[in-house]
Assembly symmetry: C4
Amino acid sequence: MKTTHVKEKTKIKLKNPILIEGLPGLGMVGRITTRYLAKQLNAKKLGELYSPHFPYYVLVNKKGSVRLLHGTFYFWKNEAGENDFIFLTGDSQAQTIEGQYDVAGCILDFAEKHDVKTIVTIGGYRKEPEETPKVIAVSTNSELLKKALETEALASPAGNPIVGTAGLLLGLARFRNINALCLLGETRGYLPDPKAAKSILSILQKMLKIKVDLTRLDEEIEKSKKIVERMREIEKRRETYSSKMRRMEEERITYIS
Amino acid sequence: MKTTHVKEKTKIKLKNPILIEGLPGLGMVGRITTRYLAKQLNAKKLGELYSPHFPYYVLVNKKGSVRLLHGTFYFWKNEAGENDFIFLTGDSQAQTIEGQYDVAGCILDFAEKHDVKTIVTIGGYRKEPEETPKVIAVSTNSELLKKALETEALASPAGNPIVGTAGLLLGLARFRNINALCLLGETRGYLPDPKAAKSILSILQKMLKIKVDLTRLDEEIEKSKKIVERMREIEKRRETYSSKMRRMEEERITYIS
Amino acid sequence: MKTTHVKEKTKIKLKNPILIEGLPGLGMVGRITTRYLAKQLNAKKLGELYSPHFPYYVLVNKKGSVRLLHGTFYFWKNEAGENDFIFLTGDSQAQTIEGQYDVAGCILDFAEKHDVKTIVTIGGYRKEPEETPKVIAVSTNSELLKKALETEALASPAGNPIVGTAGLLLGLARFRNINALCLLGETRGYLPDPKAAKSILSILQKMLKIKVDLTRLDEEIEKSKKIVERMREIEKRRETYSSKMRRMEEERITYIS
Amino acid sequence: MKTTHVKEKTKIKLKNPILIEGLPGLGMVGRITTRYLAKQLNAKKLGELYSPHFPYYVLVNKKGSVRLLHGTFYFWKNEAGENDFIFLTGDSQAQTIEGQYDVAGCILDFAEKHDVKTIVTIGGYRKEPEETPKVIAVSTNSELLKKALETEALASPAGNPIVGTAGLLLGLARFRNINALCLLGETRGYLPDPKAAKSILSILQKMLKIKVDLTRLDEEIEKSKKIVERMREIEKRRETYSSKMRRMEEERITYIS
């Protein structure tokens, strides 16, 4: 395999589709959000994106077969609304600089082919989150940004970098006449963070006028809460230890000087 | 040299050939197994695979000449059975991400050219092995997997990654209508591990209905056993030392707090 | 995006234009100088340089939109003089070896298209600067070098390496029949260094017979002076600490031996 | 610049030319040898090799101009002998895996164009050298190897790797019907090592039936001897210090256990 490409799994005509992208990244926020949406809406597979810039291993699946790392496009026919949806999630982001630009370009080619006029990219934003993680919004289009800020989303400070596919898609969309919005959920980023995903889902439901059941996500949040608590305890102990060591060191120096 | 390519050494028509691949990797299990098979069956050279993604050095051979790092294809005419065999082993795997995909693609091109319908890739699986190392099997084809599991091979847990050429060949074979099976022998992975190779050879002989003499492999196993014992002793001593250091550190802290 | 390219923003005929390049680098000297010049002369946007070799993130701007990292060409119609000017500054340099050569080549293509016959590249030179940072000059053309040395610029010792775009443009200009001069301002290099930029601006004004107001740059220098002072104090304390530690260590050794 | 290429400086017909290559590497042995030969024989510039795989900086030369890193081909018309000579030395080797293969391929293209039938590559071999550094020889051609071994050169143990251009040229020469010999001088490798170069020059003079004055090389050897002595002293002191520290550590442990 020499080039990044999409293998289409079905031929379908979509109605003013909006592409929602969430690949693995900080706190897995993008991937959790997009997968959850696709699953709850019972979205169907549209195609698979393969690239020689993904890591060079395969994953064993439940049936004892394997699969190359890839991205998956799903589609959902939104009978009640104006826009159908395409979802893109996957196993990995590209591993090299040039690969990142290449994969983002390939995603946009596929979007253009399906007449996508709006893209929403989702990711994490490293920050000790408050009780309910906040969501930061940026957009290539002021209308779209305004719409996001009318929900709970907050404007981003200038100078902020948005790393990887979620950012590049916005940067490159401008050259394709596609409007793009990026939503970043606050997350510590160390562990998969379904709570940040929930904050984003809340905004997406309002903006896109869709409705999904969040029960199962709440279950995930409960589970992850326990893991985080355990990790915090470990951290606290380590800090206590470090401060003791530091004190000890300072005393030694005081003694010598 | 700008592209990965195969230099064919002989023109030959093979009968429903099966390709068995084992390049250097964890515990050298793939390479030891495939080389042993090719040698015992007196397989002949079919071609050499060169690539600008292999490391940039040459190796001096016995005659004082050198050779570029490369892969070697061998063939064996299996007069008694239904399938002839192609073996692929070599000096190295590709050193870059894109190179790994490129080399795997080139191997599959060559396989297709020879009408290969089945590939078996061989590698190591990092685990402290039991007395007889176990073998894990995964396959792109449920029939082939079933056949492997009817021998001593075990199913792999889902989510397992298979790194490098042994994995990519399976992942990419799916797009070529080639069935592929991967056999991974348990190994500590630090040293060439002929014992893991033996476990795999036992399975291959049953599955492929071939018979090879294992005497020389047993000799290799004896030799490597001694090396492993020596290394374990060194490790044990280091652990004793580390645990003393840890205890010492803990006492210091207890004292201070 | 697969290739480095320039998006032209306007079609304009320039009169014997001189290209002045300053991308981010040591002490940000090139970027500060070139941006300051372009701003003070009220230069207009000529084009944007995009490349898959730039880092794979986007930056949020003031309006809550984002931009891909890129270089920006500005032009200034110098009504009073013989030469119009093109300025190139930007967000980043290419991140890979091959990318550096590629981007420098693309800049020269653009320069040739606009009939540029002279390029001035600007950068930093790591050295504890004196009260007024000195400026080192090298050139592909002895006339141009002589002109620079007739101002306050100093000749460079032989063997000095000039890293990145500022250097490669000179190296590659030779094959395009373009004369190129590189001016490097002495800088500690840790922080954006407007003082080094001022030394270079002083030379550029004489050489290119242009005149810009330096008031705002002096303000920047005042600000950065305070930051440097604070950093020096921190460093001093660290050194005191280290020398104590070293003394302590030496005493221990003396005691043991 | 996107491709590795040679800029020819002169058109000349050479008589059965032999190419001698020595780029920077271990102990700079290849470069010192080849430069010395070219200089003593008063060889003339034949061409320059440029590549986007060389490091991305330029070097300032004595006249205050700069040059891109490159390789330089020189030629020498050997009126008295059967073979003219081409020498290749330069500033750097390629910095990436694929770049190494690409540059070696470009050198061989140039060699073929000039009907080169024999190549000698020169490098260093890491080993604490004896009073007179030994030289290891390997060759793609048994005749050529035999000739080398009839001088003071020694055969190489099998399995030895030869890294970089000196090795790849041999590996790739085989596909071009060019015979190649590699001579590696024993060197500690830390510093430019004119003594290893002298050992190789002694062999080259016999094999190639050429004669060069070694006076200036002897001067270099004297200079480098002093540097090595100083470095050894520093090393010795460091070792003394380390062994003290180790003893101290052991005593502590003994005390605790």
